[in-house]
């Protein structure tokens, strides 16, 4: 049954053009595109059973791609399942996600990779690309059967959650993965420097008495992995870059011609370590203007929903990470969606599991930066569609005739409040609970099927 | 607010003088008497009674100050906003005749708290009560031994004692109608 999205602003990330138009979808692909406004009585409808979705004043974008999510299945289905995670992705406007291997068991065998693909197909909310474990059990000692895993569908490797601590093993991972032409997704951290950490090391951690995770611990990790990727002429992708120094290292490495890419998560661009102070922050701007600002003082101090790895860092780091995204040092936006259950989070701060559930709030968080004039809408959409697509070796996501109908319709003016009961993810662990946001995906289509629609 | 004066400065002075006489009369002299003023206005009143006794009997009477904040039974209602003051009684009260001095006797709860406080501080031989004004409406079986003036009041009224040492200006006792 065909679907016609009418009179929206179509965003084409390949040509960086925006134009009013309509898109006809049938059999899972874009079958027609019409420029300009369609009059109400247009005879353009090709079939009487066409569903018409009025996209007036809305944006029609290719579906978003997130190369870094945690779906928790198999083994941690109390935190999230592939079904709930991809449903949440659809609610966030995403149609393709790559999931990390820190499941139980880890994604270090063909059986687990196949399970993930099967479960994702069955749920049908989004395309799921498995990232498999680089080492057996993510223990950092023995290489996983990487070639077999690629043949089973893995699109890259990582031990995410932890680095590969032994540099000699890391080198071997780089050497081996080179022949498979897929990236190593690096969680870069020198753990002896971050040992026992509670939050980012800085004035806030000092005030709150929490052991710190200094930026240097992440930077030492990034520098090491860049050097080893350079040594082996292999390919490194740096996950969740959170420090100004880390962005600078990647920028310099790219300038030297190293095959390195990076990603930026919305929380590392919009939330600083001062959020851990909550209402203790005497200097916070306590105004939640939807689409423009957030109010951290509605949160209590030591709110574990702020605990994430790498941690929320200084405001200067947030600015530098966004700058990295703007100048291409960091290639795309990745949410690092990391749902946790209440049991994991309702404990003493330093003991809480690290992670923010972010896929449903990513768009609104990034639109806030657009409204503040710090990134253009087009740049943002490119960094959420064509840029991750290129990283994954895919062509443009632009909605041309014949393209797969992965579409996100965005209402940039819709004001909504982040509420736990309304999140599709099982994980409610976001510092944004209670915040009013502006901008939401109101319709998401995956292969022509509507996977999310706001009431 | 509607104020009505029921005692002038002269009337206050005469009442204190009479109470001073009565204390000496009742106790056959003041050699074993300790005046203990209840914070706040009981303390300057106790000092004035002591001065009057000095003039009548020629002897100096010991004076103490008692704060009953930590003996109240109305913590939840009134909160802890009132400052705790110091209790200071310079002599051992065991075996003495304690004359509690306060400005207004009303429900009797303040005096009950004062009795508890005194028994924690020692074992007096006897405790007597001197007040400038008795306004009735007792909620406990407590009575004053020495009264400056009996003043019938409505429960909704307020009795305000103004003393030069605390409030400045002339001494006065006022009934305030319509006070909260």
């Amino acid at each position: 049954m065909p679907t016609l999205l009418t009179n929206g602003t179509i965003i084409d990330p390949d040509t960086r053009q925006m134009s009013i138009g309509s898109i006809l979808v049938d059999n899972g692909v874009v079958t027609a595109r019409f420029d300009g406004l369609l009059p109400a009585d247009a005879t353009v409808r090709t079939a009487p059973d066409t569903t018409v979705v009025d996209a007036t004043h809305k944006l029609i974008s290719p579906g978003f791609i997130d190369p870094h999510v945690h779906l928790r299945e198999p083994g941690e289905e109390h935190k999230e399942t592939i079904a709930t995670g991809t449903r949440a992705a659809a609610a966030g406007g995403y149609t393709v996600v790559a999931c990390m291997p820190n499941t139980r068991p880890a994604s270090d065998s063909v059986a687990v990779v196949q399970h993930i693909r099967t479960a994702a197909r069955r749920a049908g909310f989004a395309e799921v690309l498995p990232i498999a474990a680089a080492t057996i059990g993510r223990a950092g000692k023995e290489l996983s059967p990487m070639r077999e895993l690629v043949d089973a569908g893995a699109i890259g490797f990582s031990d995410d959650g932890v680095p590969v601590s032994d540099p000699a093993v890391m080198r071997n991972v780089f050497e081996y993965v080179k022949m498979l032409a897929v990236p190593y997704f690096g969680h870069c951290e020198e753990m002896t420097l971050s040992n026992g950490w509670g939050m980012h090391e800085g004035a806030v951690s000092n005030r709150l008495g929490l052991p710190g995770y200094p930026s240097a611990a992440e930077e030492v990790g990034i520098a090491r992995d860049i050097a080893l990727a350079e040594l082996t002429n292999s390919r490194l992708h740096v996950c969740h870059v959170s420090t100004a120094g880390g962005v600078a290292l990647i920028r310099a490495a790219k300038a030297r011609g190293v095959n390195v890419t990076g990603e930026a998560s919305p929380h590392h661009m919009t939330l600083s370590d001062r959020w851990v102070l909550g209402w203790l922050d005497e200097h916070a701007d306590a105004r939640n203007e939807p689409g423009m600002s957030l109010n951290p003082t509605t949160r209590p101090p030591y709110d574990t929903s702020t605990r994430v790895s790498p941690p929320l860092r200084s405001e200067a780091d947030c600015v530098a990470v966004l700058q990295g995204l703007l100048d291409g040092t960091l290639d795309f936006v990745a949410t690092d969606h990391a749902p946790h259950s209440r049991v994991d989070k309702e404990v003493e701060y330093r003991l809480a599991m690290a992670g923010i559930t972010g896929i449903e709030t990513a768009l609104a968080s990034m639109l806030m930066l657009v409204n503040q004039g710090r990134i253009s809408l087009m740049d943002l959409i490119v960094r959420m569609t064509d840029a991750p697509a290129a990283f994954l070796g895919r062509g443009t996501t632009a909605l041309r005739v014949g393209a797969r109908a992965d579409i996100t319709v965005i209402d940039p003016q819709l004001v909504w409040t982040v509420e736990a009961s309304k999140l599709f993810s099982l994980g409610k662990n976001t510092p944004l609970l209670g915040q009013k946001m502006r901008g939401k995906a109101v319709l998401t289509m995956y292969k022509g099927n509507i996977t999310h629609q706001e009431a | 607010m509607n104020e009505r004066q029921i005692m002038t400065a002269d009337e206050v002075r005469r009442a204190i003088a009479r109470v001073a006489h009565e204390i000496g009369e009742r106790n056959g002299g003041v050699h074993n008497v300790v005046l203990v003023g209840i914070y706040r206005r009981g303390i300057p009143l106790a000092k004035r009674v002591a001065t009057a006794i000095q003039q009548i009997e020629g002897s100096t009477v010991a004076i103490g100050a008692l704060d009953i904040t930590l003996y109240r039974d109305d913590l939840e209602i009134r909160g802890t906003a009132t400052q705790i003051q110091h209790t200071h009684i310079p002599v051992d009260i065991t075996g003495k005749t304690i004359v509690l001095v306060d400005d207004v006797l009303f429900t009797g709860r303040t005096i009950r708290a004062a009795l508890d406080a005194l028994t924690d501080l020692g074992r007096p031989a006897r405790i007597q009560l001197a007040v400038l004004v008795d306004r009735g409406h007792r909620e406990l079986p407590i009575r004053a031994d020495f009264v400056g003036k009996n003043v019938p009041t409505a429960a909704s009224e307020d009795v305000a004692v103004r003393l030069n040492e605390v409030d400045g200006g002339d001494d006065a006792v006022m009934i305030i109608r319509g006070a909260v």
Partner: protein
């Protein structure tokens, strides 16, 4: 400090009309409230001096000590404070973190709430634990020490002792010497002292202070020194902190001897203090390491007074929390 708008999600912070419900740290106490507490503690100290040190004011209230870390002295201090005010008090020691033990902190707090506790006094090894407890308890929480973050009743008794011995607090020069980086006593004292207009200098090996910029971003007037002998002649209050061996990561100091040589509170050093100056220590002391026995016993030492005053200050806190004190 203007209080931010209160979200109904967070019902436990001081409300709009400034009623204090919890004592978690001194960072949300105004100078006026600190003075109110010290004044109340003065009256409480008078009660402690009586032959029958007991008043009935908190009769019927239940106070529960929940100590996840061993501390006989602080626990006993709160027990004595509660009993003097006629409150009933129970003490519970839960070793190890709640995660290791199986029962979560929240479940423990809820259980104690169901037992009828009005006030919970909590000491915990993790910074921030009392804030978590406060979100799940209808009564009042007093933080008796959380990780390296705060120990408000200790700071208040320290301020009380200083005022008792030296009079007005404004303008006094305090030098804090010891393992400052890991010290909750230091942090709470810094808040209280700066609020009351005192000048504070931190003095320790640089590994036990950490990045100076981190301190000065929160406390712009705080001073840092690595030379104790240079600042002693201008010091009114010399506060030593225990060198916390159990919290020190290995490798922060070369030897304890080197520490004592340059930062130890010795007789020679206290002889160079101004005549009126006092020496303090929260206890327990490592005599011979951060403080020499002669210094601890000297007439300048107010260490024992700190212990007595601790009971009075804790009585004042229990009292003020029981009646919905306005601040």
């Amino acid at each position: 400090m203007t209080m931010p708008a209160v979200s109904p999600f967070v019902p436990w912070i001081p409300t709009a009309n400034r009623k204090r419900r919890h004592v978690l740290d001194l960072d949300d106490f105004s100078a006026a409230e600190i003075i109110d507490v010290l004044d109340a503690a003065t009256s409480m100290k008078e009660v402690l001096g009586r032959s029958v040190p007991q008043v009935p004011i908190l009769r019927g209230r239940t106070v529960v000590n929940v100590f996840y870390e061993e501390s006989t002295r602080t626990r006993m201090s709160f027990e004595l404070a509660a009993r003097t005010l006629s409150a009933s008090i129970m003490s519970m020691t839960a070793k190890g973190s709640s995660v290791e033990k199986g029962e979560s902190l929240i479940d423990t707090i809820r259980t104690i709430q169901a037992l009828g506790a009005d006030i919970i006094v909590i000491r915990h090894g993790e910074s921030g634990a009392p804030y978590l407890a406060a979100q799940h308890f209808k009564g009042s929480i007093i933080n008796a020490g959380d990780g390296r973050h705060a120990h408000p009743s200790q700071a208040l008794l320290d301020l009380f002792t200083i005022r008792e011995r030296l009079g007005a607090l404004q303008g006094l020069n305090v030098t804090i010497v010891g393992d400052i980086l890991h010290s909750r006593v230091a942090r709470s004292n810094i808040w209280g002292m700066l609020r009351c207009g005192m000048q504070v200098t931190l003095c320790a090996p640089s590994t036990l202070i950490g990045d100076v910029r981190m301190w000065q971003e929160t406390f712009p007037t705080l001073k840092i020194s690595y030379d104790l002998d240079a600042i002693i002649p201008a010091t009114d209050v010399l506060m030593g902190l225990r060198l916390q061996k159990e919290r020190m990561h290995a490798g922060l100091l070369p030897t304890l001897r080197e520490y004592s040589t340059y930062f130890g509170i010795s007789q020679a050093r206290i002889d160079k203090l101004p005549d009126h100056a006092i020496v303090m220590h929260p206890g327990p002391m490592n005599e011979g390491v951060e403080i020499m026995p002669e210094a601890a016993d000297s007439p300048r030492s107010v260490i024992e007074a700190q212990v007595t005053n601790g009971v009075a200050v804790r009585m004042a806190l229990l009292y003020r929390l029981s009646g919905e004190a306005t601040i």
